[in-house]
């Protein structure tokens, strides 16, 4: 299969997935939503395997890394701003406090997860002092986040 054909099929699958997924959520049929998500993922994975051409090379990975880094920064800055807005408006609606806390912890965990994956990739192994420290801090924040949200 050529990359062009693969992209066309992938686009069709994504559109079909979006339609079925949204409808199944509206009709509260969550099993269908999960099922269609798994089936489409497997389908895309199988299609990708059948592509014989080179789909990505070192330049794509480099650009992908830069794009991921930028996306993470934008998400974090936007999230922090949104968190402060929600926190300041918590007196108007108590649910804003939950949103603010969830946002704050999700940003922390997201950044820690990035640091952890970066450390693993950078060191090339899991059993490294700094990798384990980052992993423990990540776990700590995960527990803290869950407890913080449950407390509210």
């Amino acid at each position: 299969m050529t990359i062009k054909k693969y992209n066309t099929f992938r686009m069709i699958i994504v559109i079909a997935l979006a339609i079925i997924f949204s409808q199944s959520i509206i009709y509260q049929n969550y099993f269908l939503a999960i099922g269609i998500l798994i089936i489409s993922s497997l389908l895309v994975f199988t299609l990708r395997k059948s592509v014989k051409e080179i789909m990505a090379d070192e330049r794509d990975y480099e650009q992908g890394g830069k794009a991921a880094m930028l996306a993470m920064q934008i998400y974090c800055y936007a999230g922090v701003i949104a968190m402060f807005i929600f926190k300041s408006q918590a007196s108007l609606n108590p649910s804003y406090d939950i949103i603010a806390t969830t946002l704050a912890f999700s940003i922390c965990i997201f950044m820690l997860l990035y640091s952890f994956i970066y450390q693993v990739k950078s060191k090339g192994k899991f059993w490294d002092k700094w990798v384990i420290y980052t992993f423990l801090v990540l776990l700590f924040f995960l527990v803290l986040g869950i407890l913080g949200i449950l407390k509210i």
Binding site: D57, E58, R59
Partner: protein, 64 residues
């Protein structure tokens, strides 16, 4: 970083697509390489130099 990829590729009558396939890269990467907009890894530079039958030093013009 400037290079002689386009010049040598044309001389050997190789298309961008053929070069890309032989060095296991995408054609777009070759385009960017030729335009000097992308600095390749040593591995890719070696593959391109080998395909164009020159040494890496003769292919890329390093500027101090």
């Amino acid at each position: 970083m400037k290079n002689r990829i386009k010049e040598l590729r044309t001389k050997l009558n190789i298309t961008q697509d053929e070069l890309a396939k032989s060095v296991e890269a995408r054609r777009e990467t070759i385009v960017f390489l030729e335009q000097g907009k992308y600095n390749p890894s040593l591995n890719l530079a070696h593959k391109v130099a080998k395909k164009l039958k020159v040494k890496i030093d003769d292919l890329f013009i390093f500027e101090e």
